[in-house]
Amino acid sequence: MGPVRESFIFEFLYCHLSLEASCSSVRIINIAFIPESLSWISFSLTAFFWIFVFVNAALVGVLALIWGERRLIGKFQARLGPNRWGPLGLFTPVADAIKVMFKEDIEPTLSDKLIYVLAPILMVVPVFMIFPIIPYGAKTFLTNISVGVVFVLAITSINSLSVLMAGWASGNRFAIIGGIRAVAMLLSYEIPMGISAAGVVIVAGSLSLSGVVDSQVIPNAIFQPLGFITFLIASTAELNRSPFDITEAESELVAGYMTDYSSMKFGLFYLGEFMATIASSAIIVTFYFSGWRGPSFIPSEIWFLAKWIGVIAIFIWFRATFPRLRIDQIMSLAWKGLFELSLINVLVLALMIAIWPDPTGMQLLLMTAINWIVFLASVYIFGKILSPNLTGNKIKKRSVIYGLD
C-alpha cells in the first residue's frame, strides 16, 4: 500500500475507518469500525473518497479558470469580460458547460470512428493523474512518489498523442495540419523542458516533488533564472497556449485539430486544455516557486494557492499580449535557443553542486549571483548573435522614411 500511507490526509481518513493498531495515534475521534483484517475495504473507501475529491476539485478549478481567464483577459483589453450570468458573470462557465453538453454530436463521415472518440478521452484522463502527486501544503498531499519529476514529464507529454489522433481521425485538412504541427512542436519542447527540470533535480538531489520543495531555501525562480525562463517558455508551448497556439491557430486553421469536434467531445478537449494549464502551473509553483513554503503566519496551503493563481495569471498575461509565432520560428526557438540555454543551465548548476555539494547561507547567495550572471550573459549573447538568425530571417527594428516635396 506503498507511498500513499505517508500522506497525512490519506492516513487521517483511513485511521478513522480502520481499527488498525498503528492508527490509534492518528485517530482523534473513536469512530473506526472496520477490523484490521478487512483493511483493504477501508483502504479502497479512503482512496475512492480522495479520488472523488480530487477529480471534482479539478473540474471546479477548470470552471474557475475559464471564468478567471475571460475576466482577466477582458480587463487586459480594457473591457469587462463576462458579466451577465450571476454576480460578476460567475455562472458563465456553467452556462457554457450546459450549452456544450446539449449540442448535437456530429461525427464526420470521413472520420476514423474509434480514434475519433478516443482522442478527447486521452486528452483529459492523463491530466487528472498529475493532481494527486503535487504537494499542496506541508501535510496536504495525497502521495509522494519517489520519481515524481519523471512521472510529471511523462504524463504531460501524452496529450500530444491525443492531438495527433484527433487531427488524423477527423479526416479534415485543417485538423491534420493542426495535429502534425502539434507533434512537431510538442516533441521539440519536451527536450528543453526535461533538461530544465534536470536543473531542478540536481539542486534538490531528489526526484520526488516533496524533495524538490524541501530543497528550495531560495525559490528556484530566483536561484536559477535561466532554468525558470526556459521551463516557463517550454511549458507554455506544451500547453498550446499563446504565443505557441499554432495547433489551434484560430486565424489560420479555424480551430486546428478540433475543428470537427462538437458537443461534449469538444468539451473534453476544452476541459483537458484548461486542466493542463492548471496542472502545469502547479508544477511550476512546485519546481520554481518553492511550492508551499512561505512565512508560517499564513497556512502553507494558502501560500501554494496564491502562487498557483499568480502563475496562471502569468499565462493569461502572455495570452493577452503576444501574437503567435510561425511554425518554423517555433522550431528554431526550441532547437537553437531553449535547448542550448537549458544545457548551459544544467552545466553551470552541476559544476557548482560538484564544488559545493551542501551549500550553506553564503554559498547559496554566491551561487545565485553566479546563476544570474550566467543568465544575463547567455540571454544577451543569444539575443545578440542568434536571435536575428533564430527566425530564419534577420529582424531589425525599422522606421519609415518620408517622401520629399
Partner: protein, 366 residues
C-alpha cells in the same frame, strides 16, 4: 520521403478572411505552392443599382461599398458629381468633409492594423485598443450626421448640415488623446520581436511590380513609391495643407503596418490644420438643387481613400440618374497581387499578407 500536395479551400467562411473571401490554396507541407483567390460572394450590384437612383440617392449606396471608410466613399462620389454638374462647393462644406474623411482614414487604418495583428494571432488585444479609438471617431460621426457607419453625410456642394456645437470640443479632445494612444500601440507592437519576426521580409512587394499592377495607397507607399493623390493631384483643399508621406523601405508586411501607423499620425496633423483654416459660412451653396441634373458628359475624380485610389466614373445622359457608374475600387486591384506575394511562404504568412493588403470585401465585390 514522398509527399503529397494538399489543396484546401479557405473561406468563404473562415475566421480571418475579413468577410466572405475564398482562396483555393495548394500546400506542400506548410509551404504555399499556389493560391487562387475567388471573389464575388458579396456582390450586390451597386454599380447597376446606381443607374436607377438619383444622384443624391446614390450616396447611400457608396456608404456600403467600403463599410470601414464610408466618408471617403462619399467624398469620391460627390467630387465626381460636382465635376460632372459643375457645382462649386461651399468653402466650409469642403473643410468639413476633409475633416470627416481624415477622421475616417484614422478609423479605417485602425481597423486595418487591428485586424492585421489579429491575423498574427494576438488574442484581440491590439484590435480592441484600436477599436476603442475608432469608437470615439464613430461617436464624432454620430454627432455630425446621426450615423456611425452608413454616414451619407456629403451632398453635392458640400455637406448636408453643419457639425453641431458639441462636435468641436469632442474633436479637440480626441486630437489631444490620440497621439498618446498611438504611443501605447507602438509600445505594444512596433518593437515586439514576435511581430518583427513574423512580418519582416515576408511577402515583399517590389516597387516595379507594385506600379505595374497599379497598386495604390499605403501598400504602394510601403513599397517605397512616393505616390499620394492628396499630394500629387490635390482635390478639395489639400494643396493648402502640408503633410508628410510615410514610405516603406523594403515593401514587406512590416512596412505596410508601419506606413499605416504613421499615416494615422499625419492624418491627425491634417485635421488640426483644417481646424485652423475652417471659417464660418454656409455648408452647401444655395443654388444646388435637391435633384441634381448634370449636363451630358462624363467625369472621374480619383481620391486617396484609406485603401488606395478610389474614383467614381460617372456618365450622364442629362437625366436625374447616372447613365453609367463604375467604381475603381482599390481593394479589388490591390488584391490581385496576393497570389504572387504569398507563394513560397508558410500557411501563417498567407493570412498575415492578406491582412496587410487591407481589403474590404464590400468594396472588392461591390
Amino acid at each position: 520521403m514522398s509527399t503529397e500536395l494538399v489543396t484546401m479551400n479557405i473561406g468563404p467562411i473562415h475566421p480571418s478572411t475579413h468577410g466572405v473571401f475564398r482562396m483555393r490554396v495548394t500546400f506542400d507541407g506548410e509551404t504555399i505552392i499556389d493560391a487562387e483567390p475567388i471573389i464575388g460572394y458579396l456582390h450586390r450590384g451597386s454599380e447597376k443599382l446606381a443607374e436607377e437612383r438619383t444622384y443624391t440617392q446614390v450616396v447611400t449606396l457608396t456608404d456600403r461599398m467600403d463599410y470601414t471608410a464610408s466618408m471617403t466613399n462619399n467624398q469620391a462620389y460627390i467630387l465626381s458629381v460636382e465635376k460632372l454638374s459643375g457645382i462649386t462647393p461651399s468653402e466650409r462644406g469642403v473643410w468639413l468633409r476633409m475633416i470627416a474623411s481624415e477622421l475616417q482614414r484614422i478609423a479605417a487604418h485602425s481597423v486595418a492594423i487591428g485586424f492585421l495583428i489579429n491575423d498574427l494571432g494576438a488574442w484581440h488585444t491590439p484590435l480592441l485598443y484600436l477599436l476603442r479609438e475608432r469608437e470615439k471617431i464613430l461617436e464624432l460621426f454620430e454627432m455630425m450626421c446621426g450615423a456611425r457607419i452608413t454616414n451619407s453625410y456629403l451632398r453635392p456642394g458640400g455637406v448636408f448640415m453643419d457639425a453641431p456645437d458639441e462636435f468641436w470640443p469632442s474633436l479637440n479632445r480626441f486630437l489631444d488623446e490620440m497621439p498618446n494612444r498611438l504611443d501605447d500601440i507602438e509600445n505594444l507592437l512596433t518593437d515586439n520581436e514576435i511581430i518583427l519576426a513574423r512580418t519582416q521580409n515576408v511577402a515583399i512587394l517590389d516597387k516595379n511590380d507594385a506600379i505595374n499592377a497599379s497598386i495604390t495607397g499605403p501598400m504602394l507607399r510601403a513599397s517605397g513609391v512616393d505616390w499620394d493623390l492628396r499630394h500629387r493631384n490635390p482635390y478639395d483643399y489639400y494643396e493648402k495643407i502640408s503633410f508628410r508621406r510615410p514610405l516603406g523601405t523594403v515593401g514587406d508586411n512590416n512596412d505596410r503596418y508601419l506606413v499605416r501607423l504613421h499615416e494615422i499620425r499625419e492624418s491627425l496633423k491634417i485635421v488640426e490644420q483644417c481646424l485652423d483654416l475652417i471659417e464660418p459660412g454656409p455648408v452647401q451653396p444655395e443654388e444646388v438643387p435637391f435633384l441634381v441634373r448634370p449636363p451630358k458628359g462624363e467625369s472621374y475624380v480619383p481620391i486617396e481613400a484609406p485603401k488606395g485610389e478610389l474614383g467614381f466614373y460617372l456618365v450622364s445622359d442629362g437625366g436625374i440618374s447616372p447613365f453609367r457608374c463604375h467604381v475603381r475600387a482599390p481593394s479589388l486591384i490591390n488584391l490581385t497581387l496576393l497570389r504572387d506575394m504569398v507563394i513560397g511562404y508558410k500557411i501563417a504568412d498567407l493570412f498575415v499578407t492578406f491582412g496587410s493588403i487591407d481589403v474590404n470585401m464590400g468594396e472588392v465585390d461591390r
